[in-house]
């Protein structure tokens, strides 16, 4: 039987990144917490999962992505009107004291929420985890070209949605 994992070390090192990624995908605080807990429970039950892993962060992001997709599929069949009745898109970014900056951040997270999940996932890993397209492809189980395409399309859509705000702020 494999030696027990140092869960605390894994939490300290990776939980913040996993939280931000899951929040961007699920856009729901409670679901994010449930998925994060589910992920650590799976690691605790199967400590051998990380035995031969070269990049812990990429492996855990992949686990988080798979869990989020499962949840979104279950959610879309059960709660077709979930988006309509959701109170607010949860905050993805830290709050800002500057009014213009606060408006920009809120509009950005709303624009991100309107993107398809697969584009949102690639954008997050590229912009905030600073992964290469090859690493993103490995984490998400897609070809590198597909990762690059999704990133390009997602970024273009964000530019279109935010253009009026950006020009207004300037």
């Amino acid at each position: 039987m494999a030696a027990p994992l140092n869960l605390e070390r894994l939490y300290e090192k990776h939980a913040q990144a996993l939280f931000a990624f899951l929040l961007n995908l699920t856009r729901h605080d409670t679901d994010t917490r449930d998925l994060l807990q589910d992920l650590f429970i799976r690691l605790a039950r199967r400590p051998d999962l990380l035995d031969d892993v070269r990049d812990e962060r990429a492996f855990l992001l992949r686990m988080a992505h798979n869990l989020a997709l499962d949840l979104i599929r279950r959610r879309s069949t059960r709660e077709k009107n979930y988006e309509r009745f959701a109170a607010e898109v949860p905050a993805l970014f830290a709050p800002s004291l500057d009014a213009d900056e606060a408006v920009f951040r809120r509009r950005l997270q709303e624009a991100l929420a309107e993107l398809p999940t697969d584009q949102r996932a690639v954008l997050h890993l590229k912009l905030w985890e600073n992964l290469t397209f090859d690493a993103i492809a490995e984490a998400l189980g897609i070809p590198a070209n597909t990762a690059a395409s999704r990133y390009r399309y997602g970024l273009d859509k964000l530019r279109q949605k935010l253009r009026p705000l950006y020009e207004e702020i300037k």
């Binding site: 939280f19 931000a20 994060l36 605790a44 951040r105 905030w128 530019r159 253009r163």
Partner: protein
Amino acid sequence: MKADDLEQRMRDLPLRQLPAEWKGPILKAAREAALRTAGATTVTSSVFGWCKMLSNLSARLAATRHPTPDTRPALLWPCPRAWAGLAVVWAGILAFQWVSADTEPAVIAQDNAPPSPSLLQMVKEQRQRLAQLTGQWEAPAEPARAYRPKPKSERQLDWSFA
């Protein structure tokens, strides 16, 4: 808007912090799940461990036929423990065989050995003497002749004289 502006501006945005109060309950749930899993799989993991050890051993033995620079120095690790475990198991099997081999044939021989003819004759004679002494002995009657049919030619002869 320049193409790189939005991208760079988004990269520079600080992400929301993970709530600190989540850590305790999440790790607690994970540890409890690990304990439940460890308790449920103790027996199966020990059997699986033996199988895995034996398969590793066979892989290492196969490697000795075609040793590579990587396998030769690793051949004896972690084999000492595996070898010791196997030796204990074999010693136990051999000890059990030896112990069971001592008793069973003798018991079978004693149970199934028939009495010798001389012994039977001796018992018979003693019974006769006892009977004579107690007055219960009677001369044994002539044993009845077993009926043996004669050949047909002799039978016809008998009929003619009857």
